[in-house]
């Protein structure tokens, strides 16, 4: 199996004025191709920080991150942006979409950023839309979509460019139970049909239970793997 993500001994210290706030204190994590990993833990334990580091939106104070064979930590800012463009799809808790663009416009924007040559892949787009059951919502703007639909469009946009890994930060955190279940099902579908590698932060144990692996964090550290549930 191919290792898609490899994080070694990550430390992240935020500096607030003159005070150092340690957010991560030595996190190591490996994610294999096709895995669907949940990250859980109490608020403030460093989950989002870890996700941002893995996506190259932040740089670690120390440690190393390798994404699909490319070292994020050694890269320049521009290079990290480029790796993100080619390899990573983000889904956040809310306001993922460009409000002035339709669902389709959002997808096309992602494609135009991803494929600099302007080529798009209508086949892939159709396939993703079919899988996420969004075909009839394509011409709606975000405000004309329900919260669950918006998150599905965000997921479609993240996945349409075939990223090596999807990083999701509480993607169902703003949804009711019913919509959460639908969106989580879609994540599972993508993982199953496309063998899409996914790392998802969640507070919801039921959501975590759908994942193949749960990583528990506390206080900037991953709690002993022995305590992790493997399915």
């Amino acid at each position: 199996m191919r290792t898609i993500l490899q994080a070694e001994n990550l430390e992240k210290v935020y500096r607030v004025g003159r005070v150092d706030v340690p957010a991560l204190r030595g996190v190591s994590l490996e994610v294999q191709e096709g895995e669907f990993v949940a990250i859980m833990g109490p608020s403030g334990c460093g989950k989002s920080t870890l996700l941002h580091l893995m996506g190259g939106l932040l740089t670690p104070t120390s440690g190393r991150i390798i994404i699909d064979g490319e070292d994020l930590t050694a890269a320049s800012d521009a290079k990290r942006t480029d790796i993100r463009r080619r390899k990573i799809g983000f889904v956040f808790q809310r306001f993922n979409l460009f409000p002035t663009l339709t669902a389709e416009g959002n997808l096309r924007l992602a494609e135009s950023i991803h494929n600099r040559n302007g080529k798009d892949d209508p086949e892939r787009r159709r396939e993703v839309l079919r899988l996420l059951r969004l075909e009839d919502k394509m011409h709606h703007k975000p405000l004309e979509l329900s919260g669950g639909e918006q998150q599905r469009v965000a997921l479609a946009r993240a996945v349409v460019t075939r990223p090596a890994i999807i990083l999701a930060d509480e993607p169902t955190g703003n949804l009711d139970t019913e919509n959460s279940a639908i969106v989580l099902n879609m994540f599972q579908e993508l993982n199953y049909r496309f063998n899409q590698t996914i790392v998802m932060i969640t507070h919801n144990p039921e959501a975590a239970a759908m994942c193949k692996r749960i990583v528990q964090m506390r206080d900037g550290q991953i709690v002993e793997p022995a305590q992790n549930v493997r399915m």
Partner: protein, 366 residues
């Protein structure tokens, strides 16, 4: 992504419109002012082309600019000029410049001895007769047409003095309204005086040589060539060129500021979207490009609107005040460059700022 730019512009129609208008005003201002300067200058020049005399004889200091003049040259010089070898004719002209009847611009009134003046410059009366009495004037066919006047009509000059049109002449030459020289002398209480004397050289006499001869025989006066006096009216109106350049510079600054402000509020409003763009892997160049393209599109719309306003404004002002606008391609190109460059430069700071935003804090912005 072009989609993103257009949808962004449409998202805030009022703000976009205001920015477009801002750029348009700058462009229209440049076009109208330069168009007016050219139009008036070209108009004077065209009229002066029908002055056949090669040499203009004045007192020093007279006619340095076309907005002031007095009758300060004795008509006795006419005879003395006629006595100079090589002079075919010498015709005295009185020139009086006053504030235009419509309130701005200036108008010229000439006092001439009609028979000699019309003979020298080959001017015909299309209708009516030459002015004789002190309250009689003739106007040229263009003024007659533009202002819809005909022989027998009353006309008010110098603010409130009533005159009567007795003839219409063509082609246009010098001022569009002319009275007799003696009427002007009475009017200005300057008997026996004129403003300048037009001197026509005999066939085959070099104007250069004649000018030198006149200068020698009648020293202490100013001898100019008619073509020099009329060729560069623009350069004769003090600081007009500087004024136009300053105006163009200000228009550029205004365009840049308007676009800068618009794009600045845009990126503040779209901070989170910029964060998402970054999360999607958009490079700094891409983000700068999106904002610059939006600004340039706004500027281009402003440019089109500005040209339209200038054309329409010029037409309306021409109708109402009879000022002449002539737009030149070079100024139009300058105005276009100002609009587009001003917009692009104005957007640069907001664009770079957006590109430099920290992705994570942009994403948490609400």
């Amino acid at each position: 992504m072009d989609n993103l730019i257009i949808s962004n512009i449409r998202q805030r129609p009022i703000r976009s419109l205001v920015s477009v208008i801002g750029v348009a005003l700058g462009v229209a201002l440049v076009m109208l002012f330069t168009g007016l300067a050219h139009g008036m200058s070209n108009d004077l020049q065209r009229r002066s082309q029908n002055v056949r005399a090669e040499i203009m004889f004045t007192r020093p200091g007279t006619m340095d600019n076309l907005t002031s003049s007095t009758l300060n040259l004795s008509t006795k010089y006419v005879e003395r000029l006629q006595a100079v070898d090589g002079v075919e004719a010498a015709v005295p002209i009185g020139l009086y410049v006053f504030q235009g009847g419509a309130g701005f611009g200036f108008e010229q009134l000439e006092g001439v001895d009609w028979p000699v003046f019309s003979k020298m410059n080959n001017i015909q009366l299309e209708d009516g007769r030459a002015p004789e009495a002190a309250d009689e004037v003739v106007i040229d066919y263009i003024k007659a047409h533009n202002e819809n006047r005909k022989v027998g009509d009353p006309i008010t000059l110098l603010g409130n003095k009533p005159y009567r049109i007795v003839g219409i002449f063509s082609p246009e030459s010098g001022s569009r309204t002319k009275m007799t020289l003696s009427a002007m002398q009475d009017l200005l209480e300057a008997p026996g005086k004129c403003t300048y004397i037009l001197v026509k050289a005999k066939e085959g006499v070099s104007e250069q040589a004649l000018a030198e001869r006149i200068d020698k025989e009648l020293p202490g006066n100013k001898v100019q060539f008619t073509r020099d006096v009329f060729t560069s009216i623009e350069s004769r109106i003090p600081f007009l060129g500087v004024f136009l350049k300053v105006l163009v510079g200000l228009a550029a600054v205004v365009s840049a500021l308007v676009v800068m402000l618009a794009m600045y509020t845009t990126i503040t409003e779209r901070t989170r979207e910029i964060g998402i763009l970054k999360a999607m892997g958009a490079s700094r160049g891409y983000i700068i490009g999106v904002i610059e393209k939006e600004a340039i599109l706004i500027s281009a719309l402003g440019l089109v609107l500005g040209f339209a306003v200038a054309m329409l404004g010029g037409l309306l002002i021409h109708r109402r005040y009879n000022l002449i606008f002539e737009y030149s391609w070079s100024w139009a190109a300058a105005a276009a460059a100002i609009g587009l460059l001003g917009g692009a430069i104005g957007a640069l700071y907001p664009a770079v700022r957006a590109a430099n935003l920290d992705a994570v804090s942009a994403l948490s912005y609400e």
